[in-house]
């Protein structure tokens, strides 16, 4: 009688283990897709806003000092560098 119960319990444990592994696998796959979408949004926003801030500040300085394309280009590159810096920090988090 006890043997029988033990056998049943073992069987149940195996069942639970295999089901757990299954859900783990599918869960991981799902998380990867959602996680990748998050990264896509993060990369787009970070790179774009870095460029936008640099370009805006450069454009205003150019308008003030009448040095037309100089600071626009310099600050756009610096803003891009800032965007990459933020991106690397956010992705490493």
């Amino acid at each position: 009688m006890t043997n029988n119960i033990q056998e049943k319990l073992d069987k149940l444990e195996n069942n639970i283990d295999s089901l757990k592994n299954k859900t783990k696998k599918t869960g991981e796959g799902k998380n990867n897709t959602a996680g990748n979408m998050r990264y896509v949004m993060q990369i787009t926003v970070d790179l774009l806003s870095g460029l936008a801030v640099g370009a805006f500040i450069g454009y205003e300085i150019d308008k003030y000092f009448e040095t037309k394309p100089l600071y626009f280009i310099v600050f756009m590159i610096l803003g891009m560098a800032g965007g990459f810096l933020n991106l690397i920090r956010n992705l490493n988090k």
Partner: protein
């Protein structure tokens, strides 16, 4: 169809004046965007006032939902910025309620999504940015500027690094506002585009986009809540700068 005066998917973002008003040469007309911002504030305020009017030890449904929102934002703030940041709780909670209600009001048919415009979201992010900078300067004084110099960098690289760090800091409110506005604009445009497929496909094929539309509407409501959550969470992360210095 859009070319001959039909409905474009972007028509929903058009700002129209409801009331002309010009003061000292500035056009400060009351627009549909302003109407929905006022509605969002009114909804939030009246909901919270009603929910906390008769406080009981065993709360009713309204009180439970208000307490849930309160604890949600409070936990988020403590987790991201520490218990010392609780003095900024009113700001974080107001931001959360306003963004959440503006997003959700945008899901009502024939309404306007105030948070789909970068000017609205950037104003919110700019308030946050100014508060963080002022509070950080009040707390740390000029030592606050040390976050712009990464420790362990060679001295000859410092001028370049300081400028790049400054840009990385300045773009935080921009990325915060672009993220919210882009998500709301993209979602609402997609809904309208898919809705535009229904009638041309007729009785036979129109059911498929209709089904998609129902699913996507539910998804958009989820995105509206999620984006309010993300906006507030990033606001809490930025507020942590006002409490302690990071390098």
């Amino acid at each position: 169809m859009a070319a001959d005066g039909g409905h474009s998917p972007l028509d929903q973002f058009k700002i129209t004046n409801m009331h002309e008003l010009t003061i000292a040469g500035y056009d400060i007309a009351f627009t549909n965007s302003a109407l929905f911002m006022v509605l969002a504030s009114l909804f939030g305020t009246s909901f919270l006032l009603l929910a906390t009017k008769n406080q009981q030890l065993v709360p009713n449904r309204m009180q439970v939902s208000a307490e849930f929102l309160y604890n949600f934002v409070k936990d988020m703030l403590v987790e991201n910025a520490g218990p010392a940041a609780l003095k900024f709780f009113p700001l974080a909670f107001s931001l959360f309620m306003f963004v959440l209600l503006a997003n959700l009001l945008g899901m009502v048919p024939y309404s306007f999504t105030a948070t789909s415009h970068i000017f609205t979201t950037f104003a919110l992010a700019a308030i946050l940015f100014v508060v963080v900078v002022i509070a950080a300067f009040m707390k740390h004084g000029l030592k606050f500027l040390s976050i712009f110099l990464p420790s362990g960098a060679p001295a000859w690289l410092a001028p370049l690094l300081i400028v790049i760090e400054l840009f990385a800091y300045l773009m935080r409110p921009v990325s915060l506002s672009i993220r919210l506005a882009a998500n709301m604009t993209a979602g609402h445009t997609m809904l309208k585009v898919i809705a535009g497929f229904i009638l041309p496909l007729g009785y036979l094929g129109g059911w498929l986009p209709l089904l998609f539309l129902v699913i996507l509407t539910g998804f958009e409501i989820f995105v509206a809540i999620l984006q309010a959550y993300i906006f507030t969470m990033l606001a809490c992360v930025y507020l942590s700068d006002a409490v302690e210095l990071h390098h």
